[in-house]
Chain length 145, copies 2
DNA sequence: TATTGTTATACTCTATAACTATA
DNA sequence: TATAGTTATAGAGTATAACAATA
């Protein structure tokens, strides 16, 4: 079946963005599965790092995840022994990494580092430096315009 | 909470790709909902167009959708009166657009056209021409390298 | 009053296994 | 044997409403 540049789908930047993201996420999810991590898990581990003052609500705002959907995510990390909840005051808890959590974070960082090298390596050199700035202009409120 | 260029998430092109795609898809889905179309619906309508020889299996391969997940998609379009199944041989059916399907396709094309103009307009001019080529190199087998 | 954390719930998208019928 | 279409099912991700407790 023809899929040349004449049809509106092949010419669509939105379609390219969707397909590229889905392809990338499938590949990354596969690599992270070897350390029993989902993409969202790894994002939380990277985000928290050594901090002891990051709440689930703060994470949900930073990653644009609904507060309510943080519950199973944090529970999963807690059940896996990767994070602990430390009371900050009467109503808030800090999500802090356990030693195993820090170990897992380091593994995730290595996997993601290799993954992103591979990712950028697929992009022709003349387009490479434009990739992240272009993407960030589509969602980051503080992106340069 | 700090979200500067020092943390591995803000510097990650993979994270930028994911967030940009999710942001874009949410916006497009919202606009297409005004003509009762999902993104996948519109993609099928655009793809089939005037052809009378496109099967669900062909669509599933072109869009990287599992064959099995085409069933509810096509049923939805058929129930909405947008497509008909025409027997091609004893085991295959062509998905063809009804007159209402062609009308809906035209509406979708207009919405998507405006949407993509807006999308590209958000990208700083110096990055704009690199956007689609960079993305296509990540998933299109025939992308120039 | 606004925020944090939570439960319950539902919808969408995606993925696998297995089956029938036809090429 | 391979392909087309289908059913059943399960796992993710995501969304809203509602509530209790605390700032």
């Amino acid at each position: 079946m023809s899929d040349d540049e004449d049809d509106p789908i092949s010419r669509s930047p939105g379609h390219s963005l969707r397909r590229a993201a889905l392809s990338m996420m499938a590949e990354l999810a596969g690599r992270l599965s070897e350390i029993d991590c989902r993409i969202s898990d790894s994002t939380v581990l990277l985000l928290v790092n050594d901090r002891t003052d990051v709440t689930a609500s703060m994470i949900s705002r930073m990653l644009d995840i609904q507060r309510t959907n943080m519950v199973p995510l944090v529970n999963r990390l807690e059940s896996a022994g990767l994070v602990r909840k430390m009371p900050l005051d009467g109503k808030s808890f800090a999500i802090v990494l356990t030693p195993e959590g820090k170990k897992r974070r380091k593994q995730a960082l290595e996997i993601i580092g290799r993954f992103e090298d591979d990712l950028m390596g697929k992009i022709p050199p003349e387009h490479r430096d434009h990739f992240k700035p272009a993407l960030d202009s589509l969602w980051r409120s503080d992106a340069p315009s």
